[in-house]
Symmetry: C2
Subunit: 254 residues, 2 copies
């Protein structure tokens, strides 16, 4: 049975997150994607998503996989077929056959999220759904200094919203890059996984450092405290983009 991996992008504004919530009336990206895919495949298909993204979070590199029962459109044509039926706020970027063992969630070895801050003085309407507006000028140097201590394999309990039970709160944060382009500031975080709200709480804490409300060295204290009341607040979902998910080569060959 073929195993198909599809990379998708979406504007999360009008959805209640990625993951389908069966039995509810909330519109989710997974729900709409499965509906259109099933229609094309002429069979009921459920997909496995690599990540749950919250309501309002966007993606340019979400990954799903599924095993169609019958014959399906060849992967090289599947993206075009999907984009012909998907609404404009969801699009298929790539599709390929992968090994039977490939699992969008469990095979993933790294994920990259980007948090976008618009740091102009006054609000810019056309950025409002795709960034978080911080009008006070942020000190990028201080933010970079504060971010440094977060890199590595550590317990991120301080940067986690309670809710979903997890086996461990240890994650390996491979890198944080903070860059500025005109009035936009990007916080790019690459890790082996993210706890619930972790990316948004790290961004919120670094914004407080950028504002001078926290000193850079206090980020290390917050991390060491392992207390989710100490970290910055989770900044709004609309600034967050799931950029990329990485898999080992052996999971991709088929």
């Amino acid at each position: 049975m073929a195993n198909i991996k599809v990379t998708i992008a979406y504007d999360g504004t009008n959805y209640h997150g990625f993951q389908e919530q069966r039995g509810t009336r909330f519109k989710t990206i997974q729900g709409v994607f499965e509906e259109k895919l099933s229609w094309l495949a002429k069979e009921e298909i459920r997909v496995i998503g690599a990540s749950r993204t919250d309501s309002g979070v966007h993606a340019r590199g979400m990954v799903v996989n599924f095993k169609p029962g019958g014959l399906l459109i060849p992967p090289e044509r599947l993206t075009y077929a999907l984009n012909g039926v998907l609404p404009q706020d969801i699009s298929a970027l790539k599709a390929k056959k992968v090994s039977a063992a490939f699992h969008a969630r469990f095979s993933a070895v790294a994920k990259t999220y980007r948090y976008v801050i618009y740091n102009g003085k006054m609000p810019l309407p056309y950025l409002r759904l795709y960034s978080y507006h911080v009008h006070r000028a942020l000190d990028i140097g201080a933010m970079r200094e504060g971010a440094r201590c977060l890199i590595g394999r550590q317990d991120f309990s301080s940067f986690r919203a309670l809710g979903t039970p997890v086996k461990t709160t240890v994650r390996n944060l491979f890198d944080i890059k903070i860059s500025k382009m005109c009035e936009l500031i990007y916080i790019d975080m690459r890790a082996d996984g993210f706890l619930y709200h972790m990316a948004r709480m790290i961004a919120g804490t670094l914004i407080q450092v950028g504002m001078g409300k926290l000193k850079p060295h206090q980020v290390a204290e917050i991390l060491a405290g392992c207390d989710n009341m100490m970290g910055g607040p989770a900044v709004p979902a609309r600034g967050l983009f799931l950029i990329n998910i990485e898999y080992p080569a052996h999971a991709l060959v088929c």
Copy 2:
């Protein structure tokens, strides 16, 4: 009587252009702005806009002016007051008192428009309302070469949609800059004025050059032809941003 200049930004997606069309039910940026300004000023206020932008066109530097009859909120506080009542897709960026002779449209000496092209292979949903998607890779070098002949004081009849009668079709195009950032291509056009659809038809023609459908030297032939059937089609409004409007110093002092 005070004369107030306000710089505004907007997301044009949900409006029928900037200019109010009295007696119609179309929602315009000017209409909404005047309604909120009048409410704050407690008197009926009409504003003069520097430019008409089409349905779907965005702005980060539209300029309006108006002469309030009574006392109004001081300019330094007016932007905050306006942003408190305007919908999220319109915002006031700056407000200042200007000379009585200042006229948002007639005093303008230069306008800059930016056309945004998303040149990735597959559609990116969160860019769909703020760019034009061209999936075929564009040759920036050829576009720059084609753009060069447009610079200067010339008859732009070939880059004009018929409709509004104008005294002259001669405009001075001070500069065109084409830049690329990842998969986004920006065409920045600065001129003393733009004919109806001129910015979008220039962008459309340069895109055809970038695709190889037109040779760079043919842009000069199209310009010389003075025939609006020769130029490229006007590309969609959603990729166009009114960036900036310039005024001479004497019009601004008060």
